[in-house]
Subunit: 110 residues, 2 copies
DNA sequence: TTTACATTCAACCAAACGGTTGAATATATT
DNA sequence: AATATATTCAACCGTTTGGTTGAATGTAAA
């Protein structure tokens, strides 16, 4: 199905506090690159690079209007990541349940 | 509470297919480093490094018995990551709901 | 005690990350 | 036409990543 690279990119993009803060910032609607960068101590260029990483992961969409680039949040990749994590969690929950059961059964047979 | 570094490390550790495969492998119980490395095409040393990353993220625990190191999966970091993602998803779901409502209200007032 | 095995450590490498500064490009404004 | 603004591109730098090979360490087995 989905190339694992997609999940790689999503998780990698989320594994940075600056980028998570950028996503947070976009909750109050679209914002231009400069506006997004404003609260951060780093240079505009640095923020621009972070935005590229978020774009590559499709967590952010860019709409160009003249010289302004309006950025907005896209939910799909986070949904997909959540799905993977939930799957894995349930998988493990079952695994651990089974192991627990096996251990209890072993105990009984002593 | 938890330093954001923890979440960073967890997501970073998960953002690699080899490391996700290692976690998968550990579902059938504890395994030694050599056993974990066996299915991969890369060198044992490379896998050893991946294990270090998983350990740093506390997704894997190491139990040394003589020359063997037994690795096992730890659920907590994935739980924490899942929690963060769920929070963020709900946050965004509400945000988008609100925006939708605002747009509908605007329409009515036309 | 020699030999085999399990694992890490150390050094190296190429590529990516996260940041900087300075120049280029494209669009607005005057 | 000149100037200011928004953004990226390009080059650079130090650190990290993901891999390699070879040596060192610690433990088990002959």
């Amino acid at each position: 199905m989905s190339a694992p690279r997609t999940l790689d990119r999503t998780l990698l993009a989320l594994a940075d506090p600056t980028r998570r803060a950028i996503l947070q910032r976009l909750s109050s609607g679209e914002a231009r690159v400069t506006d997004v960068a404003q609260p951060f101590k780093m240079s505009l260029n640095a923020v621009s690079k972070h935005i590229l990483v978020l774009e590559r992961a499709k967590l952010v969409h860019r709409r160009k209007v003249g010289r302004d680039h309006f950025l907005s949040y896209r939910a799909e990749p986070l949904e997909a990541a959540a799905q993977w994590i939930e799957q894995t969690r349930h998988f493990w929950a079952n695994r651990l349940d089974t192991l627990g059961k096996l251990l209890r059964d072993e105990d009984k047979n002593k």
